[in-house]
């Protein structure tokens, strides 16, 4: 049984009660360690049956910069900005909203290879979260898509304002799109990546 090596302030990977014991319970074990055991990412990767916590959902929808990556049959990856992210009640199924024009070949990629990766990062802060799915597919837009984008736009404006970016700038980043597309996937892996220069303070 691996020892808990600490937790971030959001409590992403195990519950507060477990921290004091420095050991993960069996219930938490499935949540914290992936079957593939991916120590190169983080000692607290999660299993294929995990669900998002309320804190993580709040993080995802709290004005984060979002991007989605896919890979085609020739192993060439692509990436596209995400306008908003919705989480189903099961806390395992996510729908991300993109502009079809900005998505480029990403939509064609997932038709052939349903593996995707979603990154959520807090502007100006080291907090990041990567979610991976293996069953991505294009879906019809949920009824609350526009409302979700509106909320994301206001949230990201609030995040970027202290960094010197005006509201007009933030609105331009997540302006209402006329050609929205939804991509749904089931959470298969949750990672807090170590790449990037600001990770030192987050580790």
């Amino acid at each position: 049984m691996p020892k808990a090596r600490g937790a971030d302030r959001l409590g992403w990977f195990f519950r507060r009660s477990d921290r004091a014991h420095g050991q993960l319970s069996s219930a938490e074990y499935t949540l914290a360690v992936s079957p593939q055991a991916r120590p190169r990412y983080h000692p607290h990767a999660m299993s294929a049956h995990a669900t998002l916590t309320d804190e993580l959902i709040a993080f995802l929808q709290g004005g984060r910069l979002l991007a989605l990556a896919s890979c085609d049959a020739f192993l060439s990856p692509t990436i596209a900005p995400v306008l908003a992210c919705l989480v189903d009640e099961d806390k395992r199924t996510l729908t991300v909203l993109l502009s079809r024009k900005q998505a480029g070949r990403l939509l064609a990629d997932i038709a052939g290879n349903p593996h995707i990766a979603l990154l959520a990062s807090q502007p100006g802060q080291p907090q990041k979260l990567q979610l991976k799915g293996r069953d991505a597919q294009e879906v019809t837009l949920p009824a609350n898509a526009q409302a979700c984008i509106e909320a994301q736009r206001e949230a990201i404006a609030a995040e970027l304002l202290p960094l010197g970016f005006g509201t007009r700038y933030s609105y331009a980043l997540c302006d209402d799109q006329q050609d929205l597309v939804g991509i749904r996937f089931t959470l298969a892996e949750l990672i807090r990546p170590l790449a990037g220069m600001l990770q030192r303070s987050a580790a």
């Binding site: 049959a73 609105y171 331009a172 302006d175």
Partner: protein
């Protein structure tokens, strides 16, 4: 419409908002991470910082294709870059420049290499954009004007003031410092400043420490345009303070943009030119280019203006009776170990400048001599200065400015190139260890 390249989106690579980078494993599993900067190499190449062994790194080694999205810091325009990893460099100019930059945002993080990537395509993503704001000034014209003025400078102090004033007037850089390398080559000291309540003349920064020290060590510009960085200006100074001799380095309370460039003339490192602003993203790569050009010009001017004069300097005039000093007596203390001088209990200066002042005061007291010359100081065995390239000019300028700032009864007045006069208008008591005498 012409094909986009990396040069046309250079402003987006600076990390105002981080770039997102997607890679793929050899089995087709995508991975995504965020990088604070993509380093511009040329129109067809960028470099990624390699700091850790991560999935990004593993993927790139197994499958060199990657994709990145970047955002323009002013217009919010988004671009998607398709790139291909070529090689990793662990030395050379790209690596050094990235190391300098990394020191700026995350000091202490080792840069293991610079992953050089070819830019295959740059694609503008459709979406709303803000209009590009007008440039604050024509930097090329500013550099030209400043160069013309600098070429006409015939005094070191004039050259420093001219650069600092021109940066403010022509380029809107209101807060600036000029620091020079000391005799030991381990420290930088502030010799001129503009835009601060306290000039900070005489304040010191250790070479290799902090942003300014790193610029001197690496001889590379460092520009920090965002809020996230590890540089702490108070930490730039000598720690812990020695005998209360630290002079605070002038600094804005919340500098959101900083730019420092080395002042060089050939292989000679003269110092560092530093500007800062409370405005976020105030300095861009064009400002950096302009400041590098200006610093090079200043370095050449310093080289020229501090050269040993070929014309024999007239000998100092014979001693004459000193003018009557009036007012309360001031005790001037000198500590030989650090060559530091205190006026009563207030620290004034140390190092070569302190030793020079002490020598001049002693000559004045014993012989009534008030005038001297650079040549006389170089030849004086009490100072033990090297014959050439001893920073004497900049040290005298530092002493002159420090005195002008600290007291109105003691000063150093220029009498022309290479000559100066000590002005002393108060009675002083010189204290050197156990030896005490009254003037």
């Amino acid at each position: 419409m012409s094909r986009l390249d990396a040069e046309q989106v250079r402003a987006c690579l600076e990390g105002s908002l981080p770039a997102q980078l997607a890679t793929s494993s050899a089995t087709g599993v995508p991975d995504i991470c965020e990088l604070a900067q993509l380093h511009f190499v040329d129109a067809n190449h960028i470099a990624l910082p390699y700091c850790y062994t991560t999935t990004l790194r593993e993927n790139l080694l197994g499958n060199p294709r990657a994709a990145a999205t970047v955002v323009h810091p002013d217009t919010a325009a988004r671009y998607r870059l398709a790139i291909e990893y070529l090689r990793t460099e662990s030395d050379g100019p790209v690596y050094t420049a990235m190391q300098a930059r990394l020191n700026g945002v995350a000091q202490g993080v080792p840069l293991l290499g610079a992953d050089i990537c070819r830019v295959l395509t740059v694609e503008a993503l459709p979406g709303p954009q803000l209009p590009l704001p007008p440039a604050p000034c024509n930097r090329l014209a500013a550099v030209r004007l400043l160069s013309q003025k600098l070429a006409a400078a015939d005094e070191l102090s004039q050259a420093f003031d001219l650069v600092l004033n021109s940066l403010a007037e022509l380029m809107g850089m209101d807060h600036a410092l000029v620091l020079c390398v000391d005799e030991s080559g381990r420290w930088l000291y502030t010799v001129a400043s503009r835009g601060y309540a306290q000039s900070g003349v005489g304040s010191e920064v250790e070479i290799g420490r902090g942003m300014i020290g790193s610029v001197a060590q690496l001889r590379m510009p460092i520009r920090i345009s965002g809020l996230a960085n590890d540089y702490n200006l108070p930490a730039l100074q000598r720690m812990p303070p020695l005998l209360g001799t630290d002079i605070p380095i002038p600094a804005l309370h919340h500098p959101h943009s900083r730019l420092a460039v080395p002042i060089e003339a050939g292989s000679w490192l003269a110092g560092v030119l530093y500007v800062e602003s409370a405005e976020s993203r105030r300095f861009d790569f064009e400002d950096e280019d302009a400041l590098v050009a200006i610093a090079q010009q200043l370095g050449l001017a310093m080289r020229w203006l501090t050269r040993p004069t070929e014309i024999a300097e007239p000998l100092p005039e014979p001693p004459r009776s000193a003018p009557v000093a009036i007012g309360p007596t001031v005790t001037i203390r000198y500590f030989g170990a650090t060559q530091s001088v205190f006026l009563d209990d207030d620290y004034l200066i140390k190092g070569v400048a302190g030793a020079v002042l002490w020598l001049l005061l002693n000559d004045h007291q014993r012989e009534g001599r008030s005038e001297s010359s650079n040549r006389a100081l170089r030849l004086d065995p009490r100072l033990r200065l090297p014959d050439f390239d001893d920073n004497l000019e900049t040290r005298l300028l530092l002493l002159q400015r420090r005195l002008a700032e600290r007291c109105d009864w003691l000063g150093l007045e220029k009498l022309g190139r290479g000559r100066f006069r000590l002005r002393l208008e108060r009675p002083v008591r010189l204290v050197d260890g156990e030896v005490t005498s009254d003037a």
